[in-house]
C-alpha cells in the first residue's frame, strides 16, 4: 500500500468492489435515520442547488440570453472552459506518467513524491494561489512573472487539479497483472505496442474518471486564481470570479444564471466521460 492517501472519493469510483450484502429492509430506527439524513442532505445541498436553478430560470430564457450577451461574461466563460480543457489534457498525460513512475519505478525519495502529490488537495486554495505567486509572481526569484497573465490561470489550475488523475490511475496500475505485459512482450510486441495495446486500455476508465473530476474542478476554481490571475476583465477573469462580482453587486439573477451554466458544463463533462468510460470497458 504505497499510495493510498488519496480520498476514497477518487479511489472508490474505479476500484470499488461490490459484495452483495444481505439486504436489510428498513426497520423503524433506520427509517427514522434515513429521514433525518435526507432532511439534512436536502436542506444543505438539494434545496439550495435547486434554488439556484429556479432563480436562473425564473426569468425565462431571456436571463440566459442577457448574461451570454455580455462580452465580459462570455470571455470569462470561454477562458475558463478552454483553460480547463487544456489543463485536463495536460493532466491526462502527466497524471498517467506520474502514476506510472510511482507504481513501476523504484528510487530513493519516492515516498516523499507520493506525499507531494496530495499537497494540492490539502492546501487551502487561497494559500495555493499565494504559494504560486511567491515563486512565479512579481518578486519571483526565478525571473518568471506570470501574474496577471493567462499563464497564471493555467498554472493555478494545473496546481489544484494535479492529484485527480494520478490518484485514480495509481490503484488500477497497482492491481494490474504484469503477466499479460510479459506475454505480449514474449510474443514479440515492442514496449510501445505493449503499453498502447495492453496497459493503456486497462487504464482508460480510471483516466476518464480522473479527467472528469479534474475538468469539473478546473472550471469551478476560485481561491487559487483570485490572487495570481489579477482578475482583469476580458483577459484573465475566470467565470467564478465573474460570478462573485455579480454577487457583490447584488445581481443574484445573473449570478444564478452563470452558476447554472457552470453546473451544466460540469454535468455534460461528467456524462460524456462516463459514456467514453463505458464504451471502452465494454469493448475491452
Amino acid at each position: 500500500m504505497s499510495a493510498t492517501s488519496a480520498p476514497a472519493a477518487l479511489r472508490g469510483r474505479v476500484t470499488r468492489r461490490r459484495r452483495p450484502a444481505a439486504a436489510g429492509t428498513l426497520g423503524t430506527g433506520s427509517a427514522l435515520g434515513l429521514g433525518i439524513a435526507m432532511t439534512w442532505f436536502s436542506l444543505l445541498v438539494l434545496i439550495p442547488l435547486s434554488a439556484v436553478v429556479v432563480k436562473a430560470t425564473g426569468g425565462g430564457l431571456s436571463t440566459f440570453v442577457d448574461v451570454l450577451d455580455n462580452p465580459q461574461t462570455r470571455n470569462a466563460l470561454q477562458l475558463t472552459v478552454l483553460s480547463s480543457l487544456a489543463i485536463t489534457a495536460l493532466n491526462v498525460v502527466m497524471g498517467t506518467v506520474i502514476a506510472w513512475v510511482l507504481v513501476r519505478d523504484r528510487f530513493w525519495g519516492k515516498a516523499v513524491l507520493d506525499l507531494v502529490i496530495d499537497i494540492p488537495f490539502a492546501l487551502p486554495t487561497i494559500v495555493a494561489g499565494l504559494v504560486l505567486l511567491a515563486l512565479y509572481g512579481p518578486s519571483s526569484p526565478l525571473g518568471i512573472h506570470v501574474n496577471n497573465t493567462r499563464w497564471a490561470v493555467l498554472l493555478a489550475m494545473a496546481f489544484v487539479t494535479l492529484p485527480f488523475i494520478v490518484r485514480t490511475v495509481q490503484p488500477v496500475l497497482e492491481e494490474l497483472d504484469t503477466d499479460v505485459e510479459d506475454a505480449a512482450a514474449s510474443l514479440g510486441a515492442g514496449r510501445a505496442t505493449t503499453f498502447r495495446r495492453v496497459v493503456l486500455p486497462a487504464l482508460v476508465p480510471a483516466i476518464c474518471a480522473g479527467a472528469a473530476l479534474s475538468f469539473a474542478r478546473g472550471i469551478s476554481e476560485y481561491g487559487a486564481l483570485v490572487l495570481i490571475s489579477g482578475n482583469l476583465a476580458n483577459r484573465t477573469e475566470v467565470v467564478s470570479v465573474r460570478l462573485f462580482s455579480f454577487l457583490e453587486g447584488g445581481n443574484t439573477q445573473s449570478a444564478a444564471a452563470v452558476a447554472t451554466i457552470m453546473l451544466l458544463v460540469a454535468l455534460v463533462a461528467i456524462v460524456v466521460l462516463d459514456v467514453v468510460q463505458r464504451r471502452v470497458s465494454h469493448r475491452g
Binding site: L44, R106, V116, L123, P124, F159, F195, R217, T252
Partner: protein, 277 residues
Amino acid sequence: MASTSSAVGNGSPAVKWLLRVVVIGYLFLLVAWPTAYVVRHTFDDGLTGLRTALSDPDVVHALVLTVQVSVAAVVINTLFGVGMSLLLVRHRFVGRRALSALIDLPLSVSPVVVGLALVLVYNGRFGWFGPWLEAHGLQIVFARPGMILATCFVILPLVVREVVPVLEELGDDQEQAARSLGANAWQTFWRITLPGVRWAVVYGVVLSLARALGEFGAIKVVAGNVGGETQVATVLVQQKYQNFEQQTAYSMAFLLVFAAVLCLVVVALLRPKEGHR
C-alpha cells in the same frame, strides 16, 4: 506493493530516467518548490514574522473562528457520514443508487456556487427560508451557522466515501452473529460495526478537517463583509496580501500549510496500519 518486474517497467534505462526526471521536475516546479519557498519566506527574519502576525488581534480572531467553524462542521458531517454510509451499504431502499451518486455532487460544484445556493435559500431578506428563520431568531447568512453550513456542504462526501468501501468489504456476518446472540442495534453498532470502520472514520475526519480549515470561496460568499466578525483565516490571508501586509499573509499561509501537511502526514502514517491488520 511489490512492484513486479515487467516488460514495460524494465524498459530501456534511458526511458526510465527520462520519465523519472520529467516527473520529479514537474512536481518540484509545480508543488514542492513553491510550497517550500513560502515556508522559508515566513522565517526570513526568524520567528519575528510569525510573532508579529500572532500579536495581531484580527489574526488570532480569524484563526480561532476558523477552528471553531471547522470543528463544528466536521462533527456534524462525521455523524451524517457514518449514518449515511450505514444506510447506503446495509439497507436497500428506493433511490439508493441515485442518493449514492448525489452525495458526490459537492465535489463538482464551485465554492462560489455553493455560497450563492446557500444565500438564495437562507438569506434573511429574500431567501426561501431565511425570513422565517430570522423571525424565529436564527440568522444564518452573514453569521456562523451559514459558515458552518457552507463548510458542511464542501466536505459532505469525504467521510461517506471513506467509510462506504470499508463497510462493503467488511460484510455483515459479524453483525448478524452479534444480533443472533441477542445484541440490540446499538450494541451491535458500538461493539461490532464502529470498531470495524474506525480507521476509515479517522481518515475521513482528518481529510475533512484539512478541507474545512482551508475553505475559502463558499465561506467568503456566506460570511459577507461584516467586518472582522465573520472573517476566517483564509479570507484574512487574501485581505492582508491585498493590503500589502505580505509578511503577515505569508505567516498565516504558513500556519495553514502546516496544518494541512500535518493532516496529510497523519493520514499517511495511519493508513498502512489497516493494511497489516
